[in-house]
Amino acid sequence: MVPIAYYLVLSAVLFSIGVAAFLIKRNIITVFMSIELMLNAVNLAFIAFSRQWSQTTGHLQVNGQIFVFFVMVVAAAEAAVGLAIIIAVFRARNTLNVDQIDLMKL
């Protein structure tokens, strides 16, 4: 028996680590991975909330889980596009370091 709040806290922890990773990582691909981590954290929250509402209402609620399903689909699509963009950037600039992708500023 585990309080659902623990799952939620775990999701908050993962989300914040995701944010921190986005801020720290220099490699664009890893930066993109940290976004995936954030999305996973959100998924966990959805599933936890879905479970919570099943208990509150007394019968199975799958809305939150469906949301997760869609997030996965979107994440897959985003991954395809994102990695294509990364490849395009790499070809144009020959670097994968985010700190060097700052041609446009001010």
């Binding site: 993109f32 954030m38 949301f67 699509a77 395009a88 144009a92 446009m104 001010l106």
Partner: protein, 502 residues
């Protein structure tokens, strides 16, 4: 079948996009892909016509209550169809037959519009999310379409990474709202808040995160940081679309969530939006002052205009919603219009984009110069243009709801704005400098003329005879039954507070 009618414009745009893709594959390799653009234009025209026709549908939901066609969503359907139509024409003018990936570009524009339209009619947050992603991902891709330049992929990368970052916040916000209310239907959320006593802490935080996500999409400060860089790097015709379409759609979502789902919480989101409006207007206008690149300047100006729309949000009245919707239309008209000229003058590859490059343009091409001046005048907000009436309604609504300070700050800002817009006007009508290379202006194509005609006519009509559009905007505002109650009492006390020197 009846259900399908409610998403008919989306269906038409999807079909048109698929047709463009198929035709792209069938066309022999060396031949020009520009004809595909006209196919796309036809699709957009059909979508526009059907969107207008949708006004005849009785308001109602479809597909088990995930989409709703009502005066509000149809209003935005028409707007988005118009935007994508004009943007396609601009693209047709800017590209050359040799431009890479034309077929994909046109198809993406159409598909992106599908997402934007669905955003405006979705009443289920799940569909909002999917539609938002459709519109966002297609714009991420289009931003990077000029692959040979160094800036365009960078622009796409920045937009993509930061956009996904913001989307995660948006999603977390939805999760928290779902956690608090147990539903993701707009009406369900409102009911849950009204009847049960949901956990307000979760709601507040969820709401804040949703605002972060949508604030990013509408480029409201302080979530605006991506805007100038992305606009600078993306191809100009694409910027015409992405500075107006996704923005309008995101504002529609924000309006629906704020007024449809969370009217009970307005005491909490109004202050947030109040500050976002003030910061957006100020940062947008101050940032634009220093810019020498026209596209960056317009990016900052779009941040400022997002601020003006947010001013209307805070008015908490039917007038406020109507003003926001109206402003979205007038902003779209003038901004797409000005990008038509920027993209024609600068070309698809953006060879010249500095304000100095525009020196003397009006003497070399009176039509382009005149049209650009007209759009700039509208952006400043001079009477007889859509820009003036947009601001007029927005600030009237704000003052009517007692937001006197907000209106004053907004007006000061719109004064600052005159500086940088006028700089372009002055450049247009001054002698071209010897040092800078002269901007070579090709003869405007039919497509460009059409685009300029549509946008300038819209800007002018919105300024002289805004009656119909305003009625439509007001009808759209009536969709939210909860608004209007708050505006019933005139806020005379607060207005007096100003006069007594508060």
């Amino acid at each position: 079948m009846n259900d399908a009618l409610r998403i008919l414009p989306e269906i038409i745009l999807t079909l048109a996009g698929v047709l463009v893709m198929i035709a792209d594959a069938l066309l022999p390799k060396p031949s020009s892909r520009k004809s595909l653009g006209w196919l796309a234009v036809l699709g957009a025209l059909a979508a526009l016509a059907v969107s207008f026709w949708q006004y005849q549908l009785p308001a109602g939901t479809a597909y088990y209550g995930v989409v709703q066609t009502d005066a509000f969503s149809v209003f935005f359907h028409v707007l988005i169809a118009g935007i994508v139509l004009a943007s396609l024409l601009i693209t047709l003018d800017a590209v050359t037959p040799e431009t890479e990936g034309l077929g994909e570009l046109f198809a993406l524009m159409l598909f992106g519009a599908v997402g934007m339209m669905l955003m405006s009619s979705a009443v289920e947050l799940l569909l909002v999310f999917v539609a938002l992603e459709i519109s966002s991902i297609s714009t991420y891709i289009m931003a990077g379409f000029r692959r040979k330049s160094a800036k365009s992929p960078e622009s796409a990368l920045k937009y993509f990474l930061l956009g996904s970052f913001a989307t995660s916040f948006f999603l977390y916000g939805i999760a928290l709202i779902f956690g608090a209310t147990g539903t993701t239907r707009i009406s369900g959320i409102a009911d849950a808040i009204a009847s049960a006593n949901p956990s307000t802490a979760l709601l507040y935080v969820g709401l804040a995160m949703v605002i972060v996500g949508l604030g990013f999409k509408v480029s409201a400060a302080p979530f605006h940081v991506w805007t100038p860089d992305v606009y600078e790097g993306a191809p100009s015709p694409v910027v015409a679309l992405m500075s107006t379409g996704p923005k309008a759609a995101a504002f529609a979502v924000l309006l629906r969530i704020a007024y449809g789902a969370l009217p009970q919480l307005h005491a909490d989101w109004v202050p947030i939006l109040w500050w976002l409006a003030v910061i957006s207007m100020t940062i947008g206008n101050l940032g634009a002052l220093r810019q020498r690149n026209v596209k960056r300047m317009l990016a900052y100006s779009s941040i400022a205009h997002a601020g003006y729309i947010l001013v209307a949000f805070t008015a908490l009245s039917a007038d406020g919603v109507a003003a926001a919707s109206f402003y979205a239309v007038s902003y779209a008209a003038m901004n797409v219009g000005i990008f038509a000229i920027v993209s024609h003058a600068g070309g698809y590859d953006d060879h010249l984009t500095l304000i100095d490059d525009y020196r003397g343009l009006a003497w070399r091409s009176p039509l382009l110069g005149g049209a650009m001046t007209f759009f700039l005048i509208s952006l400043i907000g001079i009477p007889f243009t859509g820009g003036f009436f947009g601001k007029f309604y927005v600030f009237t609504a704000a003052i009517h709801s007692g937001m006197v300070w907000l209106a004053i700050i907004g007006l000061i800002n719109s004064g600052i704005a005159a500086f940088y817009y006028l700089r372009v006007v002055v450049a247009l009508y001054s002698r071209s400098s010897e040092a800078a290379p002269e901007l070579v202006v090709a003869r405007p194509s039919i497509a460009l003329l059409l685009a300029i005609f549509i946008t300038s006519a819209a800007t002018l009509i919105l300024g002289i005879a805004p009656g119909n559009v305003l009625d439509a905007a007001r009808a759209a505002a009536q969709t939210f039954t909860s608004v209007g109650q708050d505006a019933a009492t005139p806020p005379s006390t607060s207005v007096d507070a100003v006069s007594t020197g508060r």
